[in-house]
């Protein structure tokens, strides 16, 4: 739990850095980043590690929870929770919320990015003498006229007459994301859901971060207070920044 948990903390930090481009970057920058993340071999390895970590963290957590429940077959008639924190007592519940969130999150974004055949592509609109012209961005930095090409295999641009590939586009994850949170019917619900999931994440980290070091035996009279402080900051700041993004998108013009 400790090792996978800490690895997932690293993943969170990286993921957050990428996501923040939704606020601080252009859509092209974000989509470039998204493409990089889905194609770079090193990132691929990391992403597989992440999937395995999530899986392992979840399965291990579930097993532990069952074992722990079995260790007390008859419960108490009266309990008083004053000797431990809410977060520490509810890691399994919080973890489950996060797991549900991760699944929906992956269906909404990751799956679209990977498998959606009708994924929109990054476009650039320019003023031309003939009026507004919509161009597709290509991955090598040039443009192709949207009217002049045919999109095949989701991202490949083909000259329809010559039947030749003339370039490759960026999947427009940026657009998908903005549309998702700005959806007229459900945008607010999606945003709220996301924020709530981040709240669960905050509590999960509030206990989990320092707990991981304790489980690894990485403690000390100077080290432990530092880890505790860092853990608390991490558990507040990271989910908060994550949560700000959909709120920003939802309320942006």
């Amino acid at each position: 739990m400790a090792l996978t948990g800490l690895f997932l903390c690293l993943f969170l930090a990286g993921h957050l850095a990428g996501n923040l481009q939704l606020i601080f970057g252009t859509s092209l920058q974000f989509n470039e980043y998204a493409l990089f993340m889905t194609t770079n071999p090193a990132v691929k390895i990391l992403s597989y590690l992440t999937y395995i970590s999530i899986l392992f963290h979840a399965i291990d957590g579930i097993l532990l929870t069952f074992q722990n429940k079995a260790a007390r077959p008859i419960g108490y008639a009266k309990t008083d929770g004053s000797s431990s924190s809410f977060a520490s007592r509810n890691m399994a519940v919080l973890g489950t919320i996060i797991l549900v969130f991760i699944v929906t999150h992956m269906v909404n974004f990751w799956a679209k990015m990977h498998f959606d055949e009708s994924m929109p592509l990054q476009e650039t609109v320019v003023e031309s003498p003939m009026g507004e012209l919509t161009l597709y961005n290509t991955v090598n930095g040039s443009y192709v006229n949207k009217e002049a090409v045919e999109v095949r295999n989701v991202t490949d641009f083909y000259d329809p007459q010559l039947n030749l590939k003339v370039g490759q586009g960026y999947k427009d994850l940026h657009k998908i994301t903005f549309e998702f949170f700005k959806d007229e019917k459900f945008g607010l619900i999606f945003t709220l859901g996301y924020v709530l999931a981040m709240l669960a994440m905050a509590f999960h980290l509030w206990h989990g971060f320092q707990s991981a070091f304790q489980s690894l035996g990485a403690t000390g009279s100077k080290l432990t207070p530092a880890i505790k402080l860092f853990g608390k900051l991490f558990s507040v700041i990271v989910p908060l920044l994550f949560a700000i993004i959909p709120i920003y998108i939802h309320f942006s013009k």
């Binding site: 009266k78 309990t79 000797s83 520490s88 489980s215």
Partner: protein, 253 residues
Amino acid sequence: MSAAKNININLKIWRQKNASSKGSMETYKLDNVSTASSFLEMLDQLNEQLVNEKKEPVAFDHDCREGICGMCSLYINGRAHGPDTGITTCQLHMRMFNDGDTIYIEPWRSKAFPVIKDLVVDRSAFDRIQQAGGFVSVNTSGNTIDANSIPVPKDDADKAFMAAACIGCGACVATCKNGSAMLFVGAKVSQYALLPQGKVEATQRVLNMVRQMDEEGFGNCTNTGACEIECPKGISLENIARMNREFLKASVK
């Protein structure tokens, strides 16, 4: 000091004929309890009342009544050893309660501590963990080296003592939501790991004690910290971290 006065209380106590029968919470009314009495003296008073009514008295474990033998237990109003901290049940005094209070009294709940009768549980699992490795393998001939021939840094000796102060009452297991015995085992492992005399067998000791702990059916530690709060001797969580270190070290050796 507040002067002693008499109070009337209601008691809800777990009654169970023997290990194989099904128990239930029963209600009793007890009048004229002096607030200067200890909690166990209050139970004596109840039992005297029950015996005089020719009813079966409540069985509960107790012996030294000065907080050191570790025999007394009781989960009182949802907390191990009751509402006060840093003490055992025998040191809990009735001045912690008010006239008209309803007090819940339950046995330690753990798969590894089966109920024998009423509030009495079997804690021999702790003995078996100790037998698996909680010792230094030295013969009792007295022909060892002079006690002062190996200096022990005061800090280490003090830490070892603080770990060795564990009275084996089982409050850590009772209060842990997972029914984990890590504080108990951690304290024992730590005591020996901190002293030069115990270092020789450190690897085997931690592996054997942890194996036995797992076999007994205790739950896993999720670092909620409740054990440290409820421990009548204030055994520190640091002992669990130290055991984790020792265990990792021993596992990779």
